[in-house]
Subunit: 454 residues, 2 copies
């Protein structure tokens, strides 16, 4: 008999991990709800025609494809076989697994365009799948938690994203984080000013790596993509903003990019967003304007966001931005929107490493009833019902066995309280409540016991 | 541009459906927690070696298989191609999508056998996938919500399942349901008594259809499987219990099956389970003993359960039972357990048809702020923050537009309250709260408004 294994890059989440993960999910969901976002779920499978071509060539390679049901091989000729996997795939697979939540959301909006009230605010918390090479912190199945609003270009939405980020991380007890903000129009303006108008995409992909590979290698990459030395020398000011305060940075940027209307618009949007954040009354906002923040994704056209937790070397835990044409690929152009995505797996790693989970996050059963014999059960059963009516998670050890074994079970499960019921307890109706952490014991009636644990 | 479509048998769940589904999920999850079950999640993909052979030939056909990544066709020879899809599959696919939550649970227990504390109580709420022919009420992706306890054969666990079923359905407001219970050992005893010992599996599969196809066709099916007329005539008593009360049924059954030790054990288990249910103090228990209840699945060995909602013609909404060898297929024999599964999709259909969802289940945003101009926003923004701090789901219409358009948005979203802010409100600080259902308006300060909506 072969011992079963898990597919590479996938994980089980046992009770302790799950309880903590649920704490993260619940916190994010509650925040989304308070901000008026509505839940949406889309199928795990999408037609490959929906997914293909949306994530670049590399993304297409990383899509998990589902083998057609039934006699799929009947359609394959020897010629198909000879022409290789890439050409063979569409003959035997027409569905793939969700790669992100953005494309399915765009697909949903297009299908339901006539029924939806705009602006449409939705959140979505579901797993996505990527056939990436598994490595530390990178999995083939992981959760995304996205909130987007489409059908409005109001910068209030950007401000609300800043607020939501603060609320999520503060509620998660991640106090020390950095939220960087930039605007793609500023990057587009830079492309104009250095003489490569329209090439802000290439510029963004390279600058996005500044943190990881440094200025020299970013410039090397741009050289490789055909940027001249003259062009690159004009980029110098971009790398000099690091240590300046917000007002100085903005002023220098305005001077540098004054000839670009696009850049001016981007700067104005940024200033208005930050003004709205102040008007909301957000205390101690952790927003940093970073003109080198780029975010690789090509569809952003306005504000971009990125959040990192300080004190750990884990990548960004949240990111997003404004886009103007998300549904264009499905024949519905001109719908503007802005969104934010929280990465639960990385947030978990941050909280685990910094020991930030509250004790209650792992809390399962609160009290275990330990009956000494079958007579004790007749007292235990109605007590169990009473505890549960009072919304106290309670269980009884199901087998009659040694008391020590039952107490070991309580300890292994980290159940904080046990109720001991022996013959004395059956006769008097006074039960013994034991605190498993302190060892303290109290004699209580069933009613007192419920009140005490409530 | 081709309009995007959804794969056959899959669904989007928009905001209204999702809010209602979340109400069902939350209710089930809270009940599982109160009864001491701990959360578990397993990957959507499992190795095909884990899944294949666990669901019968038909089940194997219905597994969704994932095409191997990379150059999968390099391993295919022309001979492979000629030998058909079934033989080709293992060459190009080594993973499949989860078909149920039971096999992944068994796989999890086996992998973690040394780390788990027994008895192990877990719940799991995740989608499963089946390449079934889509039809009304049958989907290719649907959720299961399972709770199982393994590592004990205590009948208290069966009693707790009866209690959980009552608690879930009562909390869902499904008051009128029928919970049928039987015991596979009684069916095994019947097989003995009618002269086909060990054939309770065949018997169960046929009797399982009694509700749908009637007594005559059940007998026909058994004839087709080689049961003689003599054997079948001995089955007569089984069909006569329908109208009798519990005590009479049990007495007649005891007489009929007195020669079978297995049947006697099954009857004793049933009686003890019902006794425990009474000791728990469950009022108005809706448990019906039905000796013709069979449940098709082959792995049940003790109690079996099935729940139907009365007043709708929707199949069973919940079912489960005891098994003795769930992990045997993975080399870990002799682990007894009992479980229950709730079908969220069917529960949704029942509640929808009977109009049982509470108004709060669909409740999203509670209040929309309607600013008449940009000055009004400066009053609106801190108010929004105040509302959200008080845990009130609140939003502001993000664009400055006609008041009518904003009120239409509130109505389309079924937002029950709006706050109107014009120049008078900005000057006096006294805001207008409008109830969108009744049209009633109240003048309130920001503080009063928050208190009123809390």
């Amino acid at each position: 008999m072969q011992k079963p294994t898990l597919p590479k890059g996938t994980r089980d989440f046992g009770p302790e991990q799950m309880s903590k993960r649920l704490f993260i999910f619940d916190t994010i969901r509650e925040t989304f709800k308070r901000f008026g976002f509505q839940p949406l779920e889309t199928p795990s499978m999408e037609n490959l025609s929906t997914l293909t071509g949306k994530y670049g060539d590399e993304g297409d390679q990383l899509l998990f494809k589902i083998l057609n049901s039934g006699d799929f091989s009947a359609n394959i000729t020897e010629l198909d076989l000879a022409s290789g996997s890439k050409k063979l795939t569409p003959k035997i697979s027409e569905k793939g697994l969700r790669y992100d939540l953005t494309v399915p959301f765009a697909r949903y909006v297009v299908i339901n365009r006539n029924a939806l009230t705009l602006p449409f605010k939705r959140y979505q918390m579901q797993p996505v799948w990527r056939a990436d090479r598994p490595q530390r912190g990178r999995y083939r199945e992981f959760y995304q938690c996205d909130a987007d609003v489409v059908g409005t270009d109001s910068l209030l939405c950007e401000a609300e994203i800043v607020l939501m980020i603060h609320e999520v991380f503060r509620n998660l007890n991640i106090q020390d984080f950095t939220l960087k903000i930039n605007n793609r129009k500023i990057l587009a303006g830079i492309a104009e000013v250095i003489g490569v108008p329209g090439q802000e995409g290439t510029l963004s992909v390279a600058i996005d790596k500044l943190d990881k590979i440094g200025q020299e290698k970013v410039l090397d990459e741009l050289r490789g993509r055909g940027f001249t030395e003259d062009t690159l020398s004009k980029l110098d000011p971009l790398f000099s903003f690091g240590t300046l305060d917000l007002t100085t940075t903005l002023n220098q940027l305005k001077t540098w990019l004054s000839v670009s209307d696009l850049a001016s618009k981007g700067i104005a949007e940024l200033e208005e967003t930050l003004l709205f954040v102040r008007q909301y009354g957000l205390a101690n906002a952790r927003v940093e304007f970073d003109p080198t923040l780029a975010r690789g994704l090509s569809y952003y056209t306005g504000a971009i966001f990125e959040v990192k937790a300080n004190g750990v070397s884990i990548g960004s835990v949240s990111g997003g931005g404004r886009y103007d044409n998300l549904t264009g690929a499905f024949g519905m152009p001109g719908l503007s929107g802005v969104g934010i995505s929280f990465g639960v797996d990385r947030i978990y790693d941050v909280m685990d490493e910094l020991n930030l989970f509250p004790a209650s996050a792992g809390q399962g059963t609160q009290v275990l009833i330990v009956p000494f014999d079958s007579e004790a059960r007749s007292v235990a059963l109605p007590l169990l019902s009473k505890l549960r009516v009072a919304n106290i998670a309670a269980e009884m050890y199901p087998d009659l066995t040694k008391v020590k074994k039952m107490l070991d079970y309580a300890n292994a499960r980290a159940i904080p309280f046990v109720v001991l019921i022996g013959s004395e307890e059956v006769q008097t109706g006074v039960l013994t409540l034991k605190n498993m952490l302190t060892g303290e014991q109290h004699k209580l009636t069933a009613g007192e016991l419920v009140t005490r644990l409530e």
